[in-house]
C-alpha cells in the first residue's frame, strides 16, 4: 500500500506493507535513525516521536496509521544549525550518558515545555515516566529540562 505523511515538515510518499510499524518506517525506509528502537513492548519510550504534535511510541503505531498526519522526529528539532534549547539543556546538564534513551526523552520534554513552560520536578518526572534510562538515574534529565525551561523564560523576558 501507499502512505503519505509529512515528516519534519517535508511531505513523503512511500510504498509500505500494512503491518509496518512507524519506528521501522522512519529508521529503515526514511533512514532517520535518530529515533531509537528498544524494548519493542511499548515500555521504554526510546521510540517516541510526535504525531500531530503529540508524543507517541512509534513502535506501537502503524506507519499506515500515520498516513495524512504530521510526524516530527528528533532530527526536526535543530533549526539552521541551532539546537533546540532542550537539546542544549541535555548537553549543559549531562542529561545523557550512552544516549540511547535521549531522542525519546528530548521529544517528550519538548512537548511538555510547549504545554507547560515552567514544570516542577514532579511534572517532569511524570511526563517521562513511560521512558526508561539505564544510565543517568533521571536526575540529570530533570535538570536538563529545567535548564531548557529557564533558558526559554530568559529569552522571553530579554
Amino acid at each position: 500500500m501507499q502512505v503519505s505523511m509529512t515528516v519534519n515538515g517535508a511531505p513523503v510518499t512511500e510504498e509500505i506493507e500494512g503491518r509496518m510499524l512507524l519506528v521501522h518506517f522512519l529508521r529503515d525506509q526514511l533512514r532517520l535513525t535518530g529515533t531509537h528502537w528498544g524494548c519493542d513492548t511499548s515500555n521504554c519510550g526510546t521510540c517516541v516521536v510526535w504525531m500531530d504534535g503529540e508524543p507517541v511510541k512509534s513502535c506501537t503505531v502503524l506507519a499506515a496509521m500515520a498516513g495524512g498526519r504530521e510526524v516530527r522526529t528528533v532530527e526536526g528539532l535543530e533549526q539552521d544549525g541551532v539546537l533546540d534549547p532542550v537539546q542544549q539543556g541535555f548537553m549543559e546538564c549531562h542529561g545523557l550518558q550512552c544516549g540511547f534513551c535521549t531522542p525519546g526523552m528530548i521529544m517528550t520534554a519538548r512537548a511538555l515545555l510547549d504545554r507547560n513552560p515552567d514544570p516542577s520536578d514532579g511534572e517532569i518526572r511524570e511526563a517521562i515516566s513511560g521512558q526508561i534510562c539505564r544510565c543517568t538515574g533521571y536526575t540529570t534529565i530533570v535538570r536538563s529540562v529545567k535548564w531548557a525551561a529557564a533558558y526559554e523564560a530568559a529569552q522571553v523576558t530579554s
Binding site: 500500500m1 506493507e17 500494512g18 503491518r19 509496518m20 510499524l21 521501522h24 519493542d40 513492548t41 511499548s42 515500555n43 519510550g45 517516541v48 503529540e54 508524543p55 507517541v56 511510541k57 506501537t60 503505531v61 502503524l62 499506515a64 496509521m65 498516513g67 517528550t108 511524570e126 511526563a127 515516566s129 513511560g130 521512558q131
Partner: protein
C-alpha cells in the same frame, strides 16, 4: 524484532463507514483505535486478522465529553489524556483523575481510548473498573441501530464483550446524581504497570447516612468485579471506619483472584479489602470537603 503478521489495512472515515466495512469483512476484520492493546498482541502474534480497520478518523465524531443534568456522555474515541484533562468530568467524578494518573504513562495515554479500554475486556483494565463503579452503560451501534447495555452485560468474560463482529461501541453514559464523590486506588509493581489489584468506589450521602455506594475491582476476577452486596451493607448507615472495614472484608471474600507473577491469591484478597476500605473512606472525606 516483533512485527504483526501480514494484514490489509483499511481506514474508516465515519461510524457508518466502519460498520459497512465490518459487515462486509466479518470476523476476519478487527477495529484498531489507539492500538495500544491490540498492536502489542498482534506483534506477539497472539492475535492475527486479515483486515485491520483504523477508526482514528472517527475521533471527530466519537471524541467528546458532554455533561447534561442527569448524565455524562463520553464518546468511545475519547483518549485517556482527554479524560484526565476534562475539568467538568473530574469535578463530577474525581475517580477519573485518580485512575488516569496510574494508567500506563502520559505517552500511552495520548493514544489509548476509553472505547478500546472497555472493548479489550482485560481483567486488569482500570477504566472498566471505573465504569463498573459508576454504573456506566454502553451504547453499541450496528447497521440495525443502537442498543444500550449495562457494564455487567457488556463484559462476557476475559477479552470478550457484547459487541458483535459488525458492531461498534460508540458511547459510554455515566448517570449523575447529587451528594456523592468517588475515588480510585491501585497497587502496581512499578509506575505505569498493570494493577496487582485496583479498586474504585463511589458513594452518595443523604444527610448523615449513606444513600448509595458502589465498588468496582480490577484484576481479581475474569472481568471487573462489582460487588452489589457492599451497596446493600452500606445503604442507610452512617459512615464509620468499622463499617468500611466490614465492606472491605466483604470485597475480600467475594472476589476471585488467582496467584500469578503479580502476587498470591491471599495477598490480592488482602489488597481488595484494604483498597475498598480506603477508597470508601476517601469518598466520604471528599464529600465533606465538597469535592
Amino acid at each position: 524484532m516483533q512485527v504483526p503478521a501480514p494484514f490489509e489495512y483499511a481506514r474508516a472515515g465515519n461510524v457508518a463507514e466502519a460498520i459497512g466495512l465490518l459487515e462486509r469483512l466479518g470476523s476476519s476484520a478487527k477495529l484498531v483505535a489507539g492500538g495500544h492493546s491490540l498492536l502489542p498482541m498482534m506483534k506477539l502474534r497472539l492475535a492475527n486478522f486479515e483486515y485491520l480497520i483504523d477508526i482514528n478518523d472517527l475521533h471527530g465524531e466519537l471524541g467528546y465529553i458532554t455533561v447534561a443534568s442527569d448524565q455524562i456522555r463520553i464518546g468511545a474515541m475519547t483518549r485517556h489524556r482527554e479524560l484526565l484533562e476534562s475539568a467538568p468530568l473530574l469535578a463530577a467524578f474525581p475517580i477519573f483523575r485518580d485512575a488516569e494518573h496510574v494508567i500506563a504513562d502520559p505517552v500511552v495515554r495520548n493514544r489509548g481510548t476509553l472505547g478500546g479500554s472497555l472493548c479489550q475486556a482485560d481483567p486488569s483494565e482500570d477504566l472498566s473498573a471505573v465504569c463498573t463503579t459508576l454504573d456506566a452503560s454502553c451504547v453499541i451501534q450496528g447497521s440495525g441501530g443502537q442498543r444500550v447495555v449495562s457494564m455487567a452485560e457488556f463484559h462476557r468474560g476475559p477479552y470478550e464483550t457484547a459487541v458483535g463482529d459488525d458492531e461498534l461501541l460508540i458511547e459510554i453514559r455515566l448517570p449523575l446524581r447529587a451528594g456523592g464523590s468517588s475515588a480510585y486506588e491501585k497497587v502496581e509493581r512499578r509506575a505505569g504497570d498493570w494493577a496487582v489489584v485496583s479498586c474504585g468506589a463511589a458513594l452518595w450521602m443523604d444527610g448523615g447516612t449513606i444513600a448509595e455506594a458502589r465498588v468496582g475491582l480490577a484484576a481479581v476476577g475474569p472481568n471487573t468485579t462489582g460487588i452489589p452486596a457492599i451497596g446493600e451493607l452500606l445503604r442507610g448507615k452512617a459512615p464509620s471506619d468499622e463499617l468500611f472495614r466490614e465492606a472491605g472484608a466483604l470485597a475480600s471474600s467475594s472476589c476471585s483472584p488467582v496467584t500469578d507473577l503479580r502476587g498470591t491469591e491471599e495477598y490480592k484478597r488482602h489488597l481488595a479489602g484494604e483498597l475498598t476500605r480506603r477508597t470508601l473512606s476517601t469518598c466520604v472525606a471528599r464529600i465533606k470537603q465538597g469535592v
